[in-house]
């Protein structure tokens, strides 16, 4: 293990299962270790349990069995309030549908990523502009979402996800709503952010997307069926 004890792994799942009321088991017996600084794809067809995986990794949901540790914190032991704080500080989300608030500038949208961290507004706006520069949208600070292209919107969403410098960036089908050129540039951006130190998990059904990432974790019917990385060798990126 190359990770120091002060730096817990970004994600640690052990024996995780999720059964919904009504008896549908969406995820079963998943063990997964993702270290800080990794870039990985979670690949699976629709209905394979990807979304459940996203929700568990994002602490938006809790497992029915097993334990989920994000940045070393055991999710099952935390209250809703503590989980919210964990999400605010340590997890960034990027969604297929962008989820930008209409009628507000890119800067305002990105600043919302810091709203619930207790950061002052002036500081939020400053860091928001900075994050927009980082994703290559320095010239679009005052544009509202409807004035931006799909690729640009997704960049705004990514800026919002990384403005708080999270330990873990979860991207749910980030290229799903984009044409191939914009999709490629978004993937490129994620790779760049990863190179700068962010742990990035891309959840996708598109094996073409997954193929471009160093580690591929495949799930099917709620089970982890393959992991391209041998866990012992993952530490060195």
């Amino acid at each position: 293990m190359t990770t120091s004890p002060a730096e817990p792994p970004a994600v640690e799942l052990s024996g995780v299962g999720r059964t919904y009321p009504g008896g549908v088991t969406a995820l079963q017996d998943v063990d997964l270790l993702i270290h800080r600084g990794e870039l990985a794809a979670i690949l699976g067809p629709s209905g394979s349990g990807k979304s459940t995986m996203l929700n568990l990794l994002g602490t938006l949901d809790r497992p029915t069995t097993g334990s989920v540790r994000i940045d070393g914190c055991d999710v099952s032991a935390m209250s809703d309030r503590e989980l919210s704080a964990l999400r605010a500080a340590s997890i960034g989300f990027v969604f297929q549908q962008f989820h930008l608030s209409p009628g507000r500038s890119a800067t305002e949208n990105v600043a919302d990523g810091l709203l619930y961290t207790g950061t002052r507004r002036r500081e939020r706006l400053r860091r928001s502009a900075e994050a927009l520069h980082r994703v290559g949208l320095g010239h679009r600070l005052d544009h509202a979402p409807h004035e931006l292209s799909g690729g640009e919107r997704q960049r705004v969403a990514i800026a919002r996800a990384v403005v708080g410098e999270p330990v873990l960036l979860l991207a749910d089908e980030p290229t799903g709503n984009l044409d191939s050129v914009s999709g490629a540039s978004i993937l490129e951006l994620l790779v760049r952010l990863n190179a700068a130190g962010t742990t990035v998990l891309v959840i996708t059904h598109d094996s073409g997307v997954a193929r471009q990432l160093p580690r591929r974790i495949e799930i099917r019917d709620g089970r982890l069926v393959s992991d391209s990385a041998v866990p012992e060798r993952v530490g060195s990126r």
Binding site: L60, D80, R81, S84, A85, H99, L115, Y116, R121
Partner: protein, 393 residues
């Protein structure tokens, strides 16, 4: 974990953003509240303005006037006041002014060709020269009876009487009790003694001389020192008619105006109740808007939860929007209410009075309604499961 609290400015901004994303809906639901508050405020304002007007009238006319009239005898016949009643009443200490009128058994016509039955219901009254001072009457044309004309065939017409005879120019002659009388003046309406408006007034002496007046007063008007009015009232019967104190009727005309105000108060309470219903309907409108808003904005709620919003953050955001929405309506309502009161009062020539407590109370009620209307939607919003909300399209 750190305590993460949104600043007041952040909360206000959040509420605004939520509201102004849907301006028309916000306008309409705020309008519901505004109509309720506006109606309440207009009712209170108009009633307060009317009261202020009445108080102004009363203070101008004085509330210290008493009227003495003959009542009925024990056998049910009309009683008479003694001819000396006026002089006796004037000897009561706190009485400041006295004047009497006496019914004259004659009628007044525009000229001598009018049929005797066409009296226009105008009374002919014999009057003292002191009358205008006591009842606070003023002439709108010509002059009051002078010492020279009081014993000669001259007449002053009440406002309504002049209208019915269609005589408005002093100097015109009218046919009264078989003689020609010169019209010397026309009175302005007398609020405290409206019976004078429908009368033709002739001097005491002239009435005895030309019109067969018997000299018995039928109404004695008097003004007493304000603090002694009730005491004077107590001795008035015995003083005006010592032989038959029970046959004297006494009234205080300002009481009638005050009673009218009490009747107005009942109507005001009723209207206030109706406007409260309007306000309630407005509140239901706000609740409805907020519930729909929560349903529509599930993905926004999910996103905010994903960004790290606590349940309480979401709850406060929606409660805040409801409060802001109804406060907006409340402010609009206060403006509406003040405008309505102002327009109505000014059109009546009343002073414009909108009590501060009503405006403050209206705004307070608005905020309470906003809070009540917002609580349920806010609870619902905070209970939305973030994972499900995000998967909603």
């Amino acid at each position: 974990m750190r305590v993460r609290r949104l600043s007041v400015a952040d909360l206000a901004r959040l509420g605004m953003v939520g509201l102004f994303a849907r301006p028309l809906r916000v306008f309409l639901s705020a309008l519901g509240i505004a109509i309720g508050i506006g109606a309440m405020l207009a009712v209170v304002g108009i009633s307060a303005s009317s009261t202020a007007e009445l108080d102004r009238t009363l203070s101008r006319l004085g509330t210290n006037m008493l009227i003495v009239t003959p009542g009925k005898t024990l056998s049910g016949k009309n009683a008479e006041l003694p001819a000396e009643a006026t002089a006796m009443v004037s000897r009561i200490g706190p009485v400041e002014a006295v004047a009497a009128t006496g019914r004259v058994p004659a009628y007044v016509y525009r000229n001598d060709h009018i049929a005797p039955g066409e009296t226009n219901s105008i009374e002919v009254l014999a009057v003292d020269r002191d009358l205008p001072g006591t009842v606070r009457a003023t002439v709108s044309a010509g002059s009051w009876l002078t010492p020279a004309t009081v014993d000669y065939p001259a007449v002053v017409l009440g406002a309504v009487a002049a209208q019915r005879l269609d005589v408005r120019t002093p100097g015109t002659r009218v046919w009264l009790g078989g003689h020609w009388y010169a019209v010397q003046g026309v009175l302005a309406p007398v609020p405290l003694a409206p019976e004078l408006d429908r009368a033709a007034l002739v001097g005491w002496g002239a009435a005895r001389e030309y019109a067969g007046f018997d000299g018995h007063p039928t109404t004695v008007y008097l003004r007493a020192v304000e603090s002694q009015v009730e005491a004077v009232r107590g001795v008035l019967g015995r003083t005006a008619n010592p032989q038959a104190p029970m046959e004297v009727g006494i009234s205080r005309p300002s009481d009638a105006l005050t009673a009218k105000r009490a009747a107005d108060d009942t109507l005001t309470a009723l209207l206030l109740g109706l406007s409260a219903v309007a306000l309630l309907v407005g509140g239901v409108g706000v609740a409805n808007t907020m519930v729909i808003s929560v349903l529509e904005r599930r993905s926004e709620i999910g996103l905010r939860r994903a960004l790290g919003a606590k349940r309480s953050h979401v709850r406060i955001q929606f409660l805040n929007e409801a409060l802001l929405l109804s406060a907006l309506g409340g402010a609009g309502g206060v403006i509406l209410g003040v405008l309505a009161t102002g327009a109505y009062a000014l059109s009546r020539g009343w002073p414009v009075v909108v009590p501060g407590w009503a405006s403050a109370g209206g705004l307070g009620a608005t905020l309470m309604i906003g809070a009540l209307a917002g609580v349920y939607p806010a609870m619902r919003a905070s209970r939305v499961a973030p994972a499900e909300a995000l998967s909603a399209p």
